[in-house]
């Protein structure tokens, strides 16, 4: 009303200035286009390349390995004893040989003892002594008169469930670590009852070097984390079925 001297917007002022600001506009547009182009070009490249044989392209879960006992039952006596077990005894899982051969006397009771050093051929042909074979032979540990027992160096007969005493004759520090729970696998209660595995559960007494095992597959690489979800597409169903 009272301000006639004020230039109205959109007048010749802007028209005059349009060419002047065009340099700026051109710069801006070039800048924006370039940055968008580079952005899209790297995005098309994706998140780094992975050689096809490099592993980690597929996600596995525990259910893919039914052969592995993820829920191995505790020994009943361990479960019953529970935490805060003051008894101090330790339980061992049964020796592996029990399933296949025990009691040994079933066969050996009627057999003559062969004291010859030899490779076994008719029976036990899977046994190849690789445990100091020069210095050692069967009857260093097995008792020729009662095959259901093992024999310590001092002549004491022990059961297969106590075989650790036999191993401990030579492997003293490992034996000590094992008793304390530092060597070998234990299950149960950290503050109470536990079951131990015998040396022979992991180390074949005749060839004690730990045998290599098959590893479970590697984790999925971050590039492939959402791979199975991507297949569902962009239609808003990513993670569907996984929804809470």
């Amino acid at each position: 009303m009272a301000r006639p001297d004020r230039p109205t917007p959109g007048s010749e002022e802007r028209r005059r200035l349009l060419p002047a600001s065009s340099s700026l506009a051109v710069l801006l547009i070039v800048f924006l286009t370039l940055s968008l182009l580079t952005l899209f070009s790297i995005m098309r490249g994706g998140t780094g390349e992975v050689a096809s044989d490099a592993g980690g392209t597929k996600a596995y879960g525990p259910a893919d390995f039914p052969e592995i006992e993820f829920d191995r039952e505790l020994l009943p006596e361990v479960r019953e004893a529970g935490p805060s077990d003051e008894a101090g005894t330790f339980r061992v899982r049964l020796p592996l040989a029990y399933e296949d051969y025990y009691p040994c006397s079933d066969c050996h009771a009627d057999m003559e003892v062969n004291l010859e050093r030899r490779e076994l051929e008719e029976m036990h042909d899977d046994i190849h002594l690789n445990h100091g074979p020069e210095e050692r032979w069967c009857f260093d540990c097995h008792n020729p008169d009662d095959r259901d027992r093992l024999r310590l160096a001092n002549g004491t007969l022990i059961s297969f469930e106590e075989s650790y005493r036999l191993c401990g004759q030579c492997h003293g520090t490992i034996y000590r670590d094992w008793r304390e729970g530092i060597h070998g696998r234990r299950e149960g209660y950290w503050n109470g009852a536990k079951s131990y595995q015998l040396c022979a559960h992991c180390h074949n007494p005749h060839a004690p070097h730990y045998e290599p095992i098959e590893p479970l597959p590697p984790p999925v690489r971050p590039q492939f984390l959402a791979a199975s979800l991507d297949e569902v597409g962009d239609e808003g169903s990513v993670g569907e079925g996984l929804d809470d």
Binding site: A2, R3, P9, L27, F31, G45, G46, T47, L225
Partner: protein, 418 residues
Amino acid sequence: MVKDILSFVTGSARLALRGNRWYFAWLGVLGLLVVWGFTAWWQQVQHGLILTNMRDQVSWAYYIGNFTFMVGVAAAAVLLVIPAYVYNWKPIKEIAIFGELLAISAIVMCMLFVLVDVGRPDRVWHMMPLVGSLNLPSSILGWDVLVLNLYLVLNLMIVLHLLYTAYHRRPYKRNFVVPLLLCSIPAAVGIHTVTAFVYAGVAARPFWNSAILAPRFLASAFCSGPAIMLILFQILRRTTNIEIKDEAIWKIAELMAYAMFLNLFLFGAEIFREYYSNTHHLIHTQYLFSGAHGHSALVPFAWASLACSVVAFLLFLFPATRRNLVTLNLGCLLIYTGVYIEKGMALVIPGMTPDTLGEFYEYVPTMTEVRIGAAIGSIGFIIFTVLCKIAIPILQQPEPEEAAPEGAADLQAEPAAT
């Protein structure tokens, strides 16, 4: 009083809602971008951050990089405020308010970038002081939330006061504004320092764990913030009739040249330390500048950033190119690009590559991230545009003695003070 406030509010709303077709076209384009990005965000809210390319190995990336850059932009207001109000230097004083408007827009963008980055946006209220369980004094992000909000409130109060008094044609209350301004100066330094501390305090990431990170942040903020301002000033003085003197622009450009020198110097100091000591920690810098373990996505960006910064510094160093608007604008764009890369990509990502267990995961943003980023950028532009649209006419009201409006009854209750 209530009537005054009401008239201010409605008057401002009216100013914001009226404009020529360029104004609405601009807002329309931004609005479309917002919608485009909002749909992406909606999907992200439903499905989670899996729609981004962030992973456990690189768990902060594009969003947080933008956040960091925007904190720098917000802090830049201080560069304008210091000379304007402390030294009462007239040419800058008239335009300092735009720095504050920019700060407000930038802070809002910062908060939005944090909001889209968190996994549980429904729980961000846990960070609110008193209501939530803000982990002070130990959490630096907690402090960041505090200072960012403080800075926002300070700027809003200053801007509102200046506009409100100008609207009613009263002089602003110096003893109200000046203390607030004096507070906003350390607050501006504070937001950038605390944001730098969020990174610098992380011992697990040697690339960030540097004492000069905060000074570097400040130096680069004093480059990038004014770079945006200089371009905006030129746009403003062409598209509106607000008066911005060349002298003011040149003065800002000169201050920027000092800041850029400092920025390059600090950068050089960091580079020397990394390469000369040549420890395991060098791997992050190597990944950035020369690639490592066959990964080199950031290398061109790192060198582009450095080149931009050096060229811009030279352009701003010499008065001839500093005072030529074309080279000045070129320098502004270069410095903007340089700092954006440095803060956006070249800070966050190499800090996390390789990760703490030495794994290289080459991060690039997904469309979802770019769209959301575009939406937040657009929201920032909308806020700034609308704020300017409101502020300019109010500030430009002729001095009362020149033109006492007739029919002033509908304008204000009391007559204009001097």
